[in-house]
Each structure stands twice: as structure tokens, then as C-alpha cells.
């Protein structure tokens, strides 16, 4: 559900809503949701001073089960 919620939240605020990928990964310390957006939208989802990124993290964690979920924002071409 969290992946879907995050995708919805991001889709509504970017210029290229069809170019979003959300992937859930497990790491030792918990869960990570990795959102990839069109390179032109990366600034938009991060926001001035990281304001939008912070808002996305706050809402996603409020919807979760109380265990911290990390949200990473990347552009589609970024390799990791």
C-alpha cells in the first residue's frame, strides 16, 4: 500500500507523471521506498531546501505501521 500511496502523491506533483517508478527494498535496518522520476522532476519532488521531500517522507511514514520507512528520491537515469 505504501508504494502505491507514494506513487500517487508524487504523480500529482510532477510534470511527467507517466515516468515514475517506485520500488520497495528491504535493508537490514528496515524498509526503503525508492522513487525514480523524470530528471526534470527531481528538483520538484525534493523542493526548496528539501521541503517537498520532507513532506513526502512525513506522509508516507504516517500511513505506515509505525516502523520507519526510508524514502529515497532519484532520477530515472541514476544508477545505484
Amino acid at each position: 500500500m505504501l508504494e502505491e500511496a507514494l506513487e500517487h502523491l508524487v504523480k500529482g506533483i510532477v510534470e511527467h507523471p507517466d515516468e515514475i517508478q517506485v520500488r520497495a527494498r528491504r535493508i537490514r535496518s528496515g524498509r526503503v521506498l525508492e522513487v525514480r522520476v523524470h530528471p526534470e522532476d527531481l528538483g520538484k519532488v525534493i523542493g526548496r531546501g528539501g521541503r517537498t521531500a520532507k513532506a513526502l517522507r512525513t506522509v508516507v511514514n504516517a500511513l505506515g505501521d509505525g516502523k520507519y520507512v526510508r524514502v529515497d528520491l532519484l532520477d530515472l537515469d541514476e544508477v545505484r
Binding site: 500500500m1 500529482g12 506533483i13 510534470e15 523542493g47 512525513t58 506522509v59 504516517a62
Partner: protein, 166 residues
Amino acid sequence: MTEAQQETASKAAPDLAALEQEGEIAADYLEGLLDIADIDGDIDMDVEGDRAVVSVVDIKGGDLVGANGEVLEALQELTRLAVHRQTGERSRLMLDIGGYRDRRRTELKELGTKVAADVKRSGEPKALRPMTPFERKIVHDAVAAAGLRSESEGEEPRRFVVVLPA
């Protein structure tokens, strides 16, 4: 035209249709989220003065307000961006969830009135804890209504109100 006059002009004629459209976009965005998160709730739309107000009411499940309203503020921020993306205009839309803002308004009005009375008595300025812009505005108004002045100091998100003696 001076800035003050512009302010008056824009206040005199809020574009009702544009504000209603803001409400519609916001309601769609929020409804989508509630559906995905399986949270029941109704969405009310209204226009107060020169801004659109969208309220999620009768909520069952989930905590979309959070400690000190931080989730509500985050959701408002995202909703404004969603409106901006579709209209191209910056939105000042206000989001409320489960009547939180009304409750805070009442509490903060009482706080502002009480602190103003304390400061009048002591003659010493008094600093309050950090608040959001929405909360500070209510305190400033209550202090002004009590006949004193107040200022905001510090940087967001730790900006706070200081009530000044006469």
C-alpha cells in the same frame, strides 16, 4: 499602485471560480490517497475569504494529523503543489483534517489572550514555543485583540511568537 493597495485589490475580488477549481483538484488528490490507504472520510470544499478550504471529515482509520499537526502540514504542502501543477498558479489552499484546525484555533486564541494578560501584568516580553505560520497568525491576532503587539522571531520551522509589553 503600492503593495498595500494591490493587497486590497486582490482581496476585494477573489476569483471564486479559480478557488473552487483549486478545491476540486485538491479533493481529487486527497480522495485518491484515502482510497489507497483504505481510510474512510468525506471531503468538504469551501472558500473562506481569498482562499480555498478543503476539509477531510468523518475520518475512520489512520492518523493524518500527527504530532503538532505535522502530517497535516505536510499533506497541505503536497496538496498545494498538486494544485499548482494543474493551474500553474501558487495556491494558498488550507487543508483541515478531522476539525484539527478549529480546535487549534480555539486553543491558541485562549493562549494568546492569556499570555497578553500575563505580559501586561509583568511588563516583560514573553516568548512562546515554536509554531507553524497558521498557529502564529492566530496568536498574533489574539494578542492584538488584547491590545498588545507581538513579533515572530527565529527561523522556520522553529519560528516563534514573542509577546511585547505596551
